[in-house]
Amino acid sequence: MMLTNTHKPDAATQVEMFRRMALLKANDERSRKVITTGRLIMPYYSYRGQEVIPAAMSVNLTDDDYLVTIYRGIHDMLAKGLPLKQLWAEIAGRIDGTCKGKGGPMHLTYPKKGIMVTTGVVGSSMPIANGLGWASQLSGDGRVAVATFGDGASNIGAFHESLNLASVWKLPVIFLCQNNRWGEHTEYSKSTPVARIADRAAAYGMAGIHVDGNDPIAMYGAAREAVERARAGEGPTLIEAMTFRHHGHVFGDADRYMDKAYKADWVAKDPYPAYRATLIADGLATEEQLAGFEADAEAQIDEAVAFALDSAFPGLDQLSTDVFGEAA
């Protein structure tokens, strides 16, 4: 379960990870704000608090690598390069969205950046990521497929079938579990009898890494190790990245099921301000530079929100198109 290598990101990469985190954090905050105004009507699964994981994963990937993510996955996609304007138009149900407004926040798709599927079904990212990995293996193109999911998904059948197949076929797949300790309203220990989900990797003869998903340097090392293993044809990795979601399961959920002191303790460990302070203290970035990233993120989001809300809703001629394609 230990990292077998200790890759440390160079200074530029450390700063880039923060830049991505700044965008993700600002986007989550704005999403919740705009929903509150009533201008955006959608089910929203906040990822606030989990920004380190996709930031550290994505700097180890290329646009050609594949991502299959879940309903709580907008952070994964933004880090992978999902364009903000098309994201906002999609979650507003507009024709200029990635999916013409037909998918919405739980089904965002953007193949140009390798964002192949977003699923609203717990656990279902994994079987499909295997297929993308199989395609890479067949063609030898070196692409890696990343499936993200939460701790709750490690108890559904698809997890076990997928890890088993990926391991027996040595697929270039990374199973990235973002363990935020709560599966919907249920605390981890009430649903999962093993202390660590990463321990389940052993059952499939697969490498398993348990890592602090709020530590950008450790998370970078875990992601790097898994990507290198996949690209070398040495098979899949299960990464369990420990983190915490600051808000309820879905927007509007007041998380009364969560102990207040427990929550306060985790929120106090918010990785965002901590990493920001570290970069400045270590002399890797200046306050002005990081504030500039934050201001830039806000400006991009301003533009994206305005674009989305000005975009038209899909015409009713779109209702029953894209069900089937044209036979060749």
Binding site: C99, M116, P127, I128, G131, E161, S162
Partner: protein, 343 residues
């Protein structure tokens, strides 16, 4: 057959009937030979595992390599998910789910993902996969190995459902299914895998969504598919004796079904009997009956009839299993009753 033909060995071979199983194997082989992106996965599909439990994929891993024909663990969700993912990356996977009842284990992948990704992505992605599966009562396999579940899938937007009844259609529909840009559920009928049917031209396609009028008649239209086509043919003798002229249509594709051909026939005969092995309630027959009465109300000379299995699980005990499966006798009796006004 002329003497010259008897002596001409290739021609003799061409005239020899071919089983559905052989036709499917040939379709898969021809598709793989033409297109490197066609790949096969499923339980036991490679040759070390005997090319599938019934041997439909026999010889293919030896010919095309074990990378393109891959035996999987017994993991139906993983099989269908893997096919979906590979198709998103440009491959054309043919996944085998051994038995139609086992598709239930993979319903999330089939219904929530394969069928919907094109729509949910606004047309950015598509899932050109074929899911082969077999079913059919008559082998004393009881309640979990022989169901016809085609209506469930036909009720889902985004997936096509085809069921061939003979070798030429099995080949031609398989080639079309592999060519198709969307997911196709390809249902094979286990009890007639080994039945010989006339040969066909290699490379031919049977279009998806096109029914076939196999017998022309004037008093009643019988619409059926899969092995029930054999029973419908067997019913012709009794129908003839009763003076009933039946038109028989092989539906071939369940979704999208060929309304044009069926409606044209029923407009001519004025009567319709739908026959399927699946249970009657909420079945394919119900949908066809609904559309026919909507389009031809007032032109019908009799209510639309349905013959299918009774509403119970497939039983094990031989007499019960036999009684469960619709027979030529039942088809003939139902058709005669509709024509003679005894419905």
């Amino acid at each position: 057959m002329s003497d010259a033909m008897v002596q001409d060995k290739p021609a003799e071979k061409a005239a020899k009937p071919i089983t559905i199983l052989e036709a499917l194997n040939q379709a898969l082989a021809d598709a793989m030979a033409e297109d490197d992106t066609v790949v096969i996965l499923g339980e036991d599909v490679a040759d070390p595992e005997e090319g599938g439990v019934t041997g439909v994929t026999k010889g293919l891993s030896t010919r095309f390599g074990d990378k393109r024909v891959r035996s999987t663990p017994i993991s139906e969700q993983a099989i269908v998910g893997c096919a979906i993912g590979a198709s998103l990356a440009g491959y054309k996977p043919v996944a085998e789910i051994m038995l139609m009842n086992f598709t239930t284990v993979a319903m999330d992948m089939i219904v929530n993902h394969a069928a919907k990704l094109r729509y949910m992505s606004g047309g950015q992605t598509n899932v050109p996969i074929v899911i082969r599966t077999m079913t059919g009562a008559g082998f004393s396999t009881g309640g979990q190995h022989a169901d016809f579940l085609e209506a469930w899938f036909a009720h889902t937007a985004g997936i096509k459902v085809v069921i061939p009844s003979n070798s030429a259609d099995a080949y031609g529909l398989m080639r079309s299914a592999i060519d198709d840009p969307d997911p196709v559920l390809f249902v094979e009928n286990m009890p007639n895998y080994w039945t010989p049917y006339p040969r066909f031209e290699s490379g031919h396609r049977v279009p998806i969504g096109k029914a076939n009028v196999v017998v022309e008649g004037s008093d009643i239209t019988i619409v059926s598919y899969a092995r029930m086509m054999n029973e419908a043919h067997l019913a012709l003798a009794a129908l003839g004796e009763a003076g009933v002229s039946a038109e028989i249509i092989d539906l071939r594709t369940i979704a999208p079904w060929d309304q044009e051909t069926v409606l044209a026939s029923v407009a001519k005969t004025g009567r319709l009997l739908v026959v399927h092995e699946a249970v009657v309630p909420f079945g394919v027959g119900a949908e066809i009956a609904a559309v026919v009465q909507e389009k031809l109300f007032g032109k019908l000379k009799a209510p639309v009839g349905r013959v299918g299995a009774p509403f119970n699980p497939v039983p094990f005990s031989k007499p019960l299993e036999t009684a469960h499966i619709p027979s030529a006798d039942k088809i003939a009796a139902a058709a005669i009753a509709l024509v003679k006004g005894k419905h």
